[in-house]
Amino acid sequence: MERVEFQKLEFISEVFTSGFICLWHAVASWTWDAHDETCGICRMAFDGCCPDCKLPGDDCPLIWGACNHAFHLHCILKWVNSQTPQAHCPMCRREWQFKE
């Protein structure tokens, strides 16, 4: 009962008329909403981060290609830079274009 320290087991026995919320501290989790679990390049979770990063989220964003395949930005950049002259999507072998 840690959360009710405020009025620990105090018995009120009075008539309650109305309630009012002062603060609602909610909890949520974020997701990239990539319709897939893991990055096709590093096999790490999308909601996690690529192997080179420490912190997920803003520091390790996802990027979608024109073909609608998502990857960690860092992963696909590495891939694209290693492919000359034209990079292809690692998943569908289509020409890689960043989605607008």
Binding site: V4, E14, F16, G19, A28
Partner: protein, 880 residues
């Protein structure tokens, strides 16, 4: 014995050559000699001085005939006879009163003290007189013999003859006394010395105090003086000089007694007596000073006392006796204290060998006594460790001197087993004691060898407790130690420990590093010291590094991963229940833990904290932009206000421990706000989306009653429940459950919170399965439901937002259940190790088996509890 009889022993040829006249001369001389001897021995002193010349002539005439040995023999035998028959019995008679002295003992001890003193002095004086008297005539004989020495000329130097006689006489005296020694005499001596010493120590204590407090008032001095007077029978009124005199006189008296006793041949007995008296006094003093107070160091004052009283006494005594004791001490045996001449000898320029020997003996004894005393109480000392540090310091010094560490280990382990490692002690207390033990023993023994020995039983015991990890983590993270009645500040000190280790850890890290450069390696080599003799060779010296508290604590659990995992769960719980974003203390703790456990293992925790920081930023951002929008737009005013009440913690769920999901319908307005919030978030952070965990979080509520408002901080579920009652004052449990969107039994558990507060009343409705909840609407009603208060169950586990480590483990282990069951089907029965090894061997792919033996054991015991398995003689069976 007659002359004939004796002469028959002598050379018979000589007898033949004796003339008639010579024979008669011999006979006459002999008879007269015997008479005088008898007179001497009887102590008939009167006419003897005149007969000295006669005596001399008889002796010389007897010597002339070669009867010298006969004369000597006869004289000594007569003396011995006298001693045996009269002197010794008379002397011992004095002590008859104490024949059953051991029985009398305590009750009239005080009364006897003075008596013993007087009696002993008197008796000794008497016997000494007697002895002097006999010695006088012995000297006479010696002189007579010396006169006729020329004629016989068979002895060497005259002083040699004298020495020879006196030592022979001394031997006779002591052997006579020894053989007739009554058994109470040593006790009498002991008692005498004890009395004297106590007296002396009171005087000395007086002096000592006077020196300390120069401005001590006269009243006190006077009191002290009177005190001393009572003992010493002296008429003084307590000034320092007179005390000095008194002291000198006392020592002189004692010296006299010792001197007399020595001359009677009781040298060793006397020494024993005063030594034991001194030791007794010292022991009493140590007990008195040390007592049960561990907050101050007593060693110094004991040493000072040794200097001030017994050594002073011995010094005076040995001075008085001219230090005639022949100590065979080799001069190499110097104490460290002797090398620095103490200022406590006012007169002496350099303490004699004898005094140093005494000092060493006394100090060793004091150390040993104090050490035994402290070891016996070590458990208590460690219980109030930070305060009892002086006592620990004392003990350390004692042990350095005596080297009896093993005594400490044995005694402390048995105390631990008896008092701490029992079912009644809470894990928290055991851990606190463990930490204190580590800290305390670290002072005593920096190498950690004894700590290793002492800690092992505690660790062993703690490993068997389920909540150990949890307690450790609680101790690490918050100061209160998780237990309200536990000692509060120890947890803080563990955190402090983390802090303190910070710089040490840098070095320790280097130690463990394989790639240490050569220079560092060389330094390490130079620093190497052999293990103490007591070290257990089975345990490698690498154990010695683990003197840091955290290392030892982690050593209980075996692996840091378990600890980190538990910490993560606890951190998650804590973070999710925060209403503000204040995580400074958590960040600090994490930084410290990172130093200790390494960055990698704390990575996830760091992300969790980072989530909180990000949440704060995002939260402000989202709220600011929503408010802007609503100001520019024509949204309802109501909403604008409402958005201020929303705060959000946005977590990266992959890095948090599994979170318990529970469906709950939160109040409509709030739900609306949250979806707006999520929308806005999506706009700002495209393409990221928010997934609400509506059962988590904290809600601050203000409930208005007729005459006042009350604030509550509750979970969203509780808030949802009470908000439902705003529109409708009574609900059946079925309907309410449907409205909230949760199962009925969960609802019943949750609503008990409000029932216990007396805000909602429960009554059974028409349907027995359907409870009726309604708002309490009168005082009377409230009173009635108040009785139900006790029914409140504190279901902590159910309220946790994060799945506990055990739950996680159970979930992870279920995969292996069918393996285990299959194995047991094939093999019939298996021991824990075997199951563990088999799993390790065969479960290599997909769900790789990476659990520890303890985790497996925990899981198996769960299965046993579910009656799927059976455990007999450490073997697991399938339940039939």
């Amino acid at each position: 014995m007659t002359a004939d009889a004796l002469s028959s022993v002598c050379n018979l040829g000589v007898l033949d050559s004796l003339s008639e006249a010579s024979v008669s001369e011999i006979l006459e001389s002999w008879n007269s000699f015997c008479l005088i001897t008898e007179a001497i021995v009887k102590g008939d002193d009167s006419g003897l001085s005149s007969s000295y010349s006669k005596f001399q002539s008889y002796v010389s005439s007897l010597c002339k005939y070669g009867l010298r040995s006969l004369v000597e023999e006869h004289f000594l035998i007569s003396l011995q006879d006298m001693l045996e028959k009269h002197v010794a019995p008379k002397f011992w008679k004095n002590f008859d009163a104490y024949s059953n002295v051991t029985d009398l003992e305590e009750n009239d001890k005080d009364m006897q003290e003075d008596e013993v003193e007087l009696l002993l002095c008197k008796a000794l004086e008497e016997i000494s007189l007697e002895k002097q008297y006999q010695e006088k005539y012995l000297l006479m004989l010696v002189k007579s013999l010396q006169l006729c020495k020329d004629s016989t000329s068979m002895e060497g130097h005259p002083s040699d003859v004298e020495k020879f006689f006196f030592s022979k006489y001394q031997l006779i005296v002591s052997s006579v006394l020894m053989t007739t020694l009554p058994r109470q005499f040593p006790e009498v001596l002991h008692r005498y010395f004890k009395g004297r010493l106590e007296e002396l120590s009171t005087i000395m204590a007086g002096n000592y105090e006077d020196n300390e407090l120069q401005d001590g008032n006269d009243m006190e001095l006077y009191g002290k003086g009177k005190h001393a007077t009572r003992f010493g029978n002296m008429d003084i009124d307590g000034s320092y000089d007179q005390k000095k005199i008194l002291e000198n006189k006392l020592v002189r008296n004692i010296g006299m007694v010792v001197h007399n006793l020595r001359s009677l041949g009781f040298t060793s007995m006397t020494e024993d007596a005063y030594a034991s008296a001194i030791f007794l006094l010292l022991k009493a003093k140590v007990y008195d000073l040390a007592g049960d107070d561990y907050r101050s160091s007593v060693l110094e004052s004991i040493k000072e006392w040794i200097q001030a009283v017994p050594l002073q006494f011995l010094h005076a005594l040995l001075d008085y006796l001219g230090d005639s004791i022949s100590y065979l001490s080799p001069s190499s045996m110097k104490s460290p204290l002797a090398s620095s001449p103490s200022s406590c000898y006012p007169g002496a320029s350099k303490p004699s060998e004898g005094i140093i020997r005494w000092q060493l003996r006394l100090e060793y004894f004091a150390y040993e006594t104090l050490q035994d005393l402290r070891i016996a109480k070590l458990f208590e000392i460690i219980v109030d460790y930070p305060d009892s540090a002086p006592a620990i310091e004392d003990l350390k010094q004692c042990l350095e001197y005596t080297g009896q560490h093993s005594k400490l280990v044995d005694s402390f382990i048995s105390a631990l087993q008896y008092r701490l490692l029992t079912a009644g002690a809470s894990t928290n207390d055991i851990l606190h004691q463990y930490v204190s033990t580590i800290k305390a023993l670290r002072t005593i023994d920096p190498a950690g060898v004894f700590l290793e020995a002492v800690g092992e039983p505690i660790r062993e015991y703690l490993r068997g407790r389920k909540d150990t990890i949890k307690c450790i983590v609680t101790m690490l993270t918050d100061g209160s130690g998780g237990n309200n009645n536990g000692p509060g500040n120890s947890g803080d000190s563990l955190l402090e420990e983390l802090n303190r280790d910070e710089e040490n850890q840098e070095n320790a890290g280097l130690d463990d590093d394989i790639n240490t450069d050569d220079k560092q390696a060389w330094i390490d080599v130079q620093r190497w010291e052999p293990d103490p003799v007591e070290a257990d060779p089975l345990k490698g010296s690498r154990y010695r590094r683990k003197v840091d508290v955290l290392g030892m604590i982690v050593g209980i659990i075996g692996s840091k991963d378990q600890l980190v995992n538990e910490y993560r769960v606890m951190l998650a719980e804590k973070l999710l229940n925060k209403t503000d974003y204040d995580i400074d203390t958590e960040i600090r703790t994490l930084e410290l833990l990172k130093i200790h456990f390494g960055e990698n293992s704390m990575q996830k925790c760091e992300i969790m904290l980072n989530d909180l920081i990000d949440s704060k930023r995002t939260n402000t951002n989202v709220k600011a932009t929503i408010n802007q929008l609503s100001q520019t737009g024509s949204e309802s005013r109501e909403r604008e206000v409402s958005f201020d009440i929303i705060d959000t913690t946005i977590i990266s769920s992959n890095f948090w421990p599994p979170i318990q999901d529970e469906v709950v319908n939160i109040p409509e307005p709030v739900d609306q706000l949250l979806s707006d919030y999520a929308k806005r978030y999506h706009e700002i952070k495209t393409p990221r989306k928010l997934l609400w965990k509506k059962n988590l979080g904290t809600v601050k509520l203000e409930l208005e009653f007729e005459d006042r408002t009350l604030q509550f901080t509750v979970t969203p579920v509780h808030a949802s429940i009470i908000m439902q009652f705003q529109d409708q004052t009574s609900w059946t449990s079925k309907n309410l459950a449907a409205a909230i969107g949760m199962p009925e039994d969960t609802l019943q558990r949750r609503i008990s919170f409000w029932i216990s507060k007396g805000i909602i009343a429960e009554s059974s409705g028409e349907d027995s399965n359907d409870h009726l909840y309604k708002l309490v609407d009168s005082m009377a009603d409230g009173g009635k439901t108040g009785i139900n208060n006790e029914e409140l169950v504190a279901d902590d586990d159910a309220e946790r937002s994060v799945a506990s480590v055990e739950d996680q483990l159970r979930k992870e282990m279920t995969v292996y259940e069918k393996f285990i069951v299959g194995m047991l089907k094939n093999f019939g029965s298996m021991a824990l190790d075997r199951i563990h090894n088999t799993l390790k061997m065969f479960c290599v792919s997909d769900p790789t088996y990476d659990k520890s033996l303890q985790q497996l054991q925990f899981f198996l015991s769960g299965l046993v509890a579910e009656e799927k398995l059976e455990l007999r003689d450490n073997m697991y069976f399938l339940k039939k």
